[in-house]
């Protein structure tokens, strides 16, 4: 890789916008960032004086905290915007809320919202701000997919032809969508499985294969990713009960024993113990869930750094 690069993106809204080179650059930068987080002084002055605003219109502790730590480790100033304490409860519109925040001149907005496309809408409305999508509705969660990829590469080495299985509520999962897009872009072989009611019609368009059963899905997998069963997204019962889900679709210790001995288990969190994943599997030695969390900070530091330092003459 050359000594310089021009990261041309102003925003990170979707994994689809990234080229393979962009992804490789993010991962390489994240490796350096991870080193910083292991030092005694976990801070570098790279983003000193920049202000970052967390605009989380949807509940989150893990992602919000991860972005906050990432910004602070780069010496940026970060403010958390909490909608439950805001004028949104008095009926202010999203755009008005964001315009008000914008008047405080942030350099970057990190947006999570239950409406798909809101981060894009914000990016289109506000000039001179970088918008990072921290999860929009059922659309995408690009930083999660990037940290998942980073973790896979860290443990498994290469991504090309890596066999990755996604298990669970694929239809409602923005984590699933971002992962499918990113993994296929980087040449991995993706298999999905879940209850028929939670598999999108024509999911093969993402370049993935649908397995007939959990056992089929995980038999040859190098990476097994368990998606959270999202009770809050289900307006109608997609399966009779969580017990039945666990029995037919959960990653139990027994099911894990029938996989390749070096296959790893991932989960974006938070984990529903005993539903999509057995507690002993989540806590077991094949699971890299905590590594994902550590890598999340490194990857988010990399993204904030690259967006803040982008070539300002050519912006997307």
């Amino acid at each position: 890789m050359s000594d310089t690069t021009a990261f041309q993106h102003r925003h990170l809204l979707s994994v689809e916008d990234l080229s393979k080179r962009d992804v490789e650059l993010i991962l390489e930068t994240a490796r350096s960032m991870k080193d910083i987080s292991r030092r005694d002084v976990k801070k570098v002055p790279a983003l000193r004086g920049k202000s970052v605003m967390n605009c989380f219109f949807e509940a989150s502790t893990r992602t919000r905290t991860s972005f906050e730590i990432a910004a602070k480790r780069l010496s940026a100033d970060i403010v958390n915007f909490a909608p439950t304490q805001s004028a949104l409860t008095k009926g202010e519109s999203i755009i008005d809320t964001v315009r008000t925040l914008y008047a405080m001149q942030p350099d970057m907005l990190i947006v999570r919202h239950h409406g798909s496309g809101i981060p894009l809408r914000i990016a289109q409305t506000l000039p001179n701000v970088s918008v990072v999508n921290a999860g929009d509705g059922m659309h995408e969660h690009p930083t999660q997919a990037l940290l998942d990829l980073f973790t896979m590469q860290e443990v498994k080495g290469k991504i090309k032809n890596l066999r990755v299985t996604l298990l669970g509520d694929i239809a409602h999962s923005r984590v699933a969508r971002s992962n499918m897009l990113l993994l296929t872009k980087m040449g991995a072989r993706v298999v999905v499985h879940g209850p028929r009611t939670l598999l999108p019609y024509d999911v093969e368009q993402y370049g993935v294969t649908v397995a007939a059963s959990v056992e089929d899905a995980i038999a040859e997998a190098d990476v097994i990713m368990c998606l959270r069963v999202q009770q809050e997204r289900l307006h109608a019962f997609a399966f009779p009960s969580t017990r039945e889900y666990a029995r037919y679709f959960g990653l139990s210790a027994a099911r894990l024993r029938a996989t390749k001995p070096d296959a790893i288990v991932m989960h974006p969190g938070p984990v529903n113990r005993g539903v999509e994943i057995a507690p002993e599997v989540a806590d077991g030695e094949r699971a890299v869930i905590l590594q994902q969390v550590e890598n999340g900070i490194a990857v988010r530091m990399a993204i904030l750094f690259l967006l803040a330092g982008r070539d300002t003459k050519e912006t997307v």
């Binding site: 310089t4 021009a6 650059l25 390489e28 801070k43 790279a46 300002t312």
Partner: protein, 185 residues
């Protein structure tokens, strides 16, 4: 009609032989002036070419019986010009002991010019702990400082103008050893 791009005029400042002698001189100076007590002397190369030079110095010094260790440092997160550079530098990993507290450190770079890289390197080092001391070794000092930074060990000093560019070429990264002076017109 397209204007032909101005081709810089190049003059060789140091041949491979002269470069090797300069490194030899630097190693001798380091051995003579940089003493370490309990732990080995830490020779830290600044990415990218500083690293290759540091490696050669470690080889020389080890050959002379001086206990030393190689480290590498990427200073791109400590630069003062991140929002101004047209092309963003790729951040590489720094390989340093977890803590530098109490260590004798020699920072190595290929060319010393404005001094801003050295300033960034010092800031980066301090974030790894409190070194016993830091000495600064450069192959070429081309003058024109913008900060109060001076080298302790110099391979060769060259008087230059703002229109000059001094390029150190090394076998490891450029296929050959030489130092050229480019004149940009």
């Amino acid at each position: 009609m397209t204007r032909a791009r101005a081709v810089p005029i190049e003059k060789v400042l140091m041949t491979a032989q002269q470069l090797a002698r300069a490194i030899h001189t630097m190693a001798r100076q380091i051995a003579g002036t940089c003493h370490a007590e309990a732990t080995p002397l830490l020779i830290v190369g600044i990415h990218t070419r500083g690293v290759w030079l540091a490696k050669r110095l470690v080889e020389r010094l080890s050959g002379q019986g001086v206990a030393c260790e190689l480290g590498t440092l990427d200073i791109n997160l400590y630069r003062d010009d991140l929002s101004e550079v047209a092309h963003q530098p790729v951040v590489r990993r720094s390989e340093l002991p977890l803590t530098l507290s109490g260590r004798a450190v020699v920072l190595v770079d290929d060319v010393l010019f404005t001094g801003r890289t050295a300033r960034a390197a010092l800031d980066a080092l301090i974030d790894y702990g409190r070194p016993h001391y830091v000495r600064f070794a450069v192959l070429i000092d081309r003058g024109m400082r913008e900060l109060p930074i001076q080298p302790d060990i110099v391979g060769r000093a060259v008087a230059t103008e703002p229109r000059h560019n001094v390029k150190v070429q090394l076998v490891e990264s450029d296929g050959k050893d030489q130092v050229v002076l480019q004149e940009l017109r």
